[in-house]
């Protein structure tokens, strides 16, 4: 059996080196390498998917000694929580490469940086060694900083700096927690599997480690009041950056919440469950209300991300509070599925906003009107993605949110107040659709100033939209993989 996980992780890095070696070639060649490499990575992820996960523990584990003297090793592998995220990551990068094939500004550096980001993202989801995870986590941060600072919009320098300092500051408590877990383990090891099967800390030490980890993942997710970097970064980032930032990198926060906080300090997590639940409810409601106040389409989508991430936190907190394993599995299934759905839906939405901005050079909703007559394909695609985002049954978010709320009702009925968020998102999306796509067409937008989607854009969008429907109608094929792991969790 060839080491497919490592191949998938490092293939993009090879692609990045290849692009850098071929600096003199034309931008088309660079984008060609980008699309080909990310396509091959997607294939790798599909092979990983076909190999599947184990009943307990991690599957497809690959391991090489790295720093045996201190118990750190190169260890990668997947379980039902990480495997869907790996597939999502590979897919989102692939479509983003197709969409960004028009980038002409320093296209070689752009492709190389995106490929580096791809390696870091898949690496973070598959890492089974805490140091390795931290390495990938930080590399993604640095690459995203340059992405925003180089290819962003008008106020990009400030937004990139804010993003970098905020999330770097946020990631350092995780380092402390990792050191704490390391020094608590006996014998010393950074093996995450050991930390999960036999949590090294207890009592006050575990609670301190949990608090440190919660800060890191709260910044990354982001949770109110640690979210202020997100709107700035999203609005200024290029469309490709926004898709990756929202679709993939926000998942580091929620994935870390499950993998580190929930699995490595389970008792402390249960004790703090109500507090975490409260943060989730506040995030969900705050994100919805803040989105309601936006006039900038991209900011609106960015704030709804905070709302959707809030549901995931509610789901994980409910899982920790639940005593019945079946309910716990339901809550975690919903949370992980929500990560995947959010990646697809928000990825599609940011792509669409990017396409709209490419044409109109504005994101202000008041400038638009009646666009569905001018650009029907773009318009209907947006309507579909928006309906998915507000949780319409039959589309991707519904099965996820349904499971989360189902578990919440059984465990902590008060928290169901977060469902208000769905009502508000519904209202704000309907308003946005009405303002941008319905009504009278202004003189400004004609078929000449605003052509409909071209082949490249359709190719980028189609896989996401199809999956949004597939996941809404038949989520079973993903849920089975997730459920296999969540039902077997020991706590």
């Amino acid at each position: 059996m060839y080491p497919i996980v490592s191949i998938t992780v490092f293939l993009p890095l090879l692609g990045a080196l290849l692009v850098l070696l071929m600096r003199k070639s034309s931008p088309q060649v660079a984008h060609g390498i980008g699309i080909a490499t990310s396509g091959a990575t997607l294939l790798g992820a599909l092979v990983m998917w076909s190999r599947g996960v184990n009943e307990t523990g991690f599957a497809q584990v690959e391991q090489i000694d790295w720093m045996p003297s201190i118990g750190a090793a190169y260890r990668v592998g997947v379980d039902g929580i990480s495997l869907p995220l790996v597939l999502l990551t590979a897919l989102l990068f692939f479509v983003t490469f197709i969409y960004s094939a028009k980038v002409r500004k320093q296209s070689h550096s752009f492709v190389a940086l995106m490929l580096l980001l791809l390696t870091a993202s898949i690496g973070a989801f598959t890492a089974l060694d805490a140091i390795l995870f931290y390495v990938f986590f930080e590399v993604s941060l640095v690459s995203m900083y340059f992405m925003i600072a180089q290819w962003g919009h008008e106020d990009r320098q400030r937004a990139a700096l804010m993003f970098f300092i905020y999330t770097f500051l946020g990631s350092l408590p995780l380092l402390l927690a990792i050191l704490g877990l390391y020094l608590g383990s006996d014998p010393y090891t950074f093996d995450m599997r050991v930390w999960i099967s036999d949590p090294p800390l207890d009592g006050l030490a575990a609670m301190l480690a949990l608090i440190a980890m919660l800060i890191t993942f709260a910044v990354k997710t982001p949770v109110f009041p640690f979210h202020t970097w997100l709107p700035a970064a999203h609005v200024q980032a290029p469309a490709a950056g926004s898709v990756i930032l929202a679709g993939v990198m926000l998942k580091f926060g929620t994935y870390g919440l499950v993998r580190f906080a929930y699995q490595m300090t389970p008792d402390a997590f249960r004790e703090a469950g109500v507090v975490i639940l409260t943060f989730g409810v506040v995030a969900a409601l705050y994100g919805a209300f803040a989105a309601l106040a936006q006039t900038d389409l991209k900011r609106l989508v960015a704030y709804t991300s905070i709302n959707h991430m809030g549901y995931i936190i509610i789901g994980v907190a409910v899982a920790a509070l639940a005593t019945d394993p079946a309910i716990r599995a339901t809550a975690l299934d919903g949370s992980v599925l929500q990560m995947v759905s959010h990646g697809l839906v928000t990825g599609a939405l940011f792509l669409l906003v990017g396409m709209l901005q490419d044409r109109a050079h504005t994101r202000d909703m008041a400038q638009f009107g009646g666009l569905i007559k001018v650009v029907p394909v773009l318009g209907w695609s947006f309507v579909l993605a928006a309906f998915a985002s507000l949780g319409l049954p039959g589309l991707a978010h519904f099965p996820a949110e349904f499971q989360i709320f189902l578990a919440t009702l059984q465990v902590e009925p008060v928290a169901i107040i977060a469902i208000l968020g769905i009502v508000i998102t519904a209202g704000l999306y309907l308003r946005a659709i009405a303002q941008v796509f319905l009504g009278e067409v202004g003189d400004k937008w004609t078929a000449a100033t605003m052509p409909d989607l071209n082949i490249r854009e359709l190719l980028a969008l189609a896989p996401l939209l199809m999956l949004i429907i597939v996941l809404g109608v038949a989520p079973g094929w993903v849920l089975d993989v997730i459920h296999k792991t969540t039902i077997a969790l020991p706590f």
Partner: protein, 462 residues
């Protein structure tokens, strides 16, 4: 006697190198002086590698051949070699060129003596020798700013060294011996132990530029030739820090020395980065950054004796720091001394841009670079020794450091406001850029290599 001389071969080689280089300089053959020092340094490095694994002392315990001192040689001698290449690139053809090589090698000899110090008199000797040669190096350009910097450096150095000698006399009085291994006797007289210890902090703190004994550093780095600044920020500093580790190894815990070091560490890190934030001159910024980095070293010193990670982390961070700091200075030599000269450099020459970003990110401590591995081990050692709060402060300072280094990184990728050629000093020849490039390429390989292959080092360190 024979055994002891055999164990001291690297030091003896360096001593003879100094003598031969000086003779070459007297014959007005600076290139021969350079070749002699380079060959001497390589030979001594090779001889040091042969000493790996030993743990013994020579001359009645006054000099230690242990993991710390042998690794200090393996790190500091090649670092000196790289610095000499930078020196050559900067001052080739100028008056008294060979003297600089001689003085640099002399400072290195003092630094490796300090790293293996086992006796308080050897400590004084090391600090004095390294100090005297350093003053002359800083004064080398013979212009106003260099003379002023050297004068400050000299006054500061003489006062702090005298204070240290004064404090050490207390230890001698209490233990009846100048050997550091006798310091255990101070258990009974904690007041004397602390007075002597504070005096040592003052004396070595000035060498390692710890706050509040750092005032000379920014002026000296700015006044001296850039290559000398690069050298002073690496070799004598690491020597002094490792001397600290040698001193505290035998200090009785009851005197509470770790707490004193921890407080100095906090001051050094925080003040260093705060001051760096306000600098407009890249050399001064890097000077304050190297002050702050010294504070991180102290996290390892704090843990000496209580954590098994302490010595490993000190050695790995020394190697990492030498590589990334020399690399950053080499890029500054190529690009220019002001923040303005960095504007747009990353867009114009990609490779230099990427290299500088990697050096700076490594100084911040971003994985998977050398600085991360070093700092990570230092943090681990400090937590293991029960200094969680100190680690938290260090981590908060890492955030501050990001803001500091971003002040160089951000303009590198901004659009150029005006066409700016990399600074090339009037006296540099065509060979200079190639030498500087050689240095930063080597430093880059080590900055990445130590990060990825830390195990190669760790395995050697047991």
């Amino acid at each position: 006697m024979e055994r002891e001389l055999a164990l001291l071969i690297p030091e003896i080689i360096i001593l003879f190198t100094v003598v031969f280089a000086l003779i070459a300089e007297m014959l007005r053959l600076p290139r021969i002086a350079l070749v002699v020092t380079i060959v001497g340094l390589l030979l001594a490095t090779w001889q040091s590698v042969l000493l790996l694994g030993l743990d013994t002392t020579v001359f009645g315990g006054t000099f230690r051949i242990d993991m710390l001192s042998v690794w200090a040689k393996i790190i500091l001698l090649p670092a000196t070699l790289l610095s000499l290449l930078l020196v050559r690139a900067e001052i080739a053809g100028s008056d008294r060129e060979g003297t600089v090589y001689v003085l640099v090698t002399l400072v290195t000899l003092a630094s490796i003596l300090l790293a293996g110090v086992g006796d308080s008199m050897l400590l004084v000797l090391g600090v004095l020798l390294s100090g005297l040669a350093s003053f002359a190096l800083v004064a080398y350009p013979r212009n106003d700013s260099a003379t002023e910097a050297a004068m400050k450096f000299f006054v500061f150095g003489s006062v702090t060294t005298s204070v240290m000698i004064f404090g050490l006399s207390y230890w001698f009085g209490a233990t009846g011996s100048t050997l550091l291994s006798e310091l255990g006797q101070l258990e009974a007289s904690p007041a004397i132990a602390v007075i002597g210890f504070i005096a040592v902090i003052i004396g070595l703190g000035y060498k390692a530029s710890l706050v509040p004994f750092h005032f000379w550093a920014p002026d000296a780095y700015e006044g001296a030739p850039l290559s000398i600044a690069a050298y002073l920020s690496v070799v004598p500093k690491i020597g002094a820090i490792l001397a600290f580790a040698q001193v505290v190894r035998d200090m009785p815990m009851s005197t509470g020395w770790p707490l004193i070091i921890a407080v100095v560490a906090v001051l050094t890190m925080t003040y260093g980065y705060l001051a760096a934030l306000a600098q407009k001159n890249v050399v001064r910024l890097l000077a304050y950054s190297s002050v702050a980095q010294a504070g991180y070293f102290l996290l390892g010193v704090v843990a000496v004796g209580t954590s098994s990670l302490a010595l490993q982390s000190l050695i790995i961070f020394s190697a990492a720091y030498a590589a990334m700091n020399l690399g950053a200075f080499a890029v500054v030599m190529r690009v220019g001394r002001t923040l303005d000269s960095f504007k747009g450099i990353g867009r114009k020459s990609h490779v230099i841009g990427v290299a500088m970003v990697i050096f700076l990110l490594s100084l911040v401590g971003i994985p998977p670079l050398a600085g991360f591995v070093g700092k990570f081990l230092l943090f681990g050692a400090a937590i293991d020794a029960g200094f969680l709060w100190l680690t938290v402060v260090a981590i908060l300072n890492s955030v501050l450091s990001l803001a500091v280094y971003l002040r160089i990184m951000v303009p590198m990728y901004q659009a150029q406001s005006h066409c700016h050629e990399p600074d090339t000093d009037a006296n540099t020849t065509a060979v200079a850029p190639a030498l500087i490039k050689l240095v930063w390429v080597i430093a880059l390989l080590f900055t990445i290599g130590i990060g990825l292959a830390a195990q190669l080092l760790l395995r050697q360190l047991g």
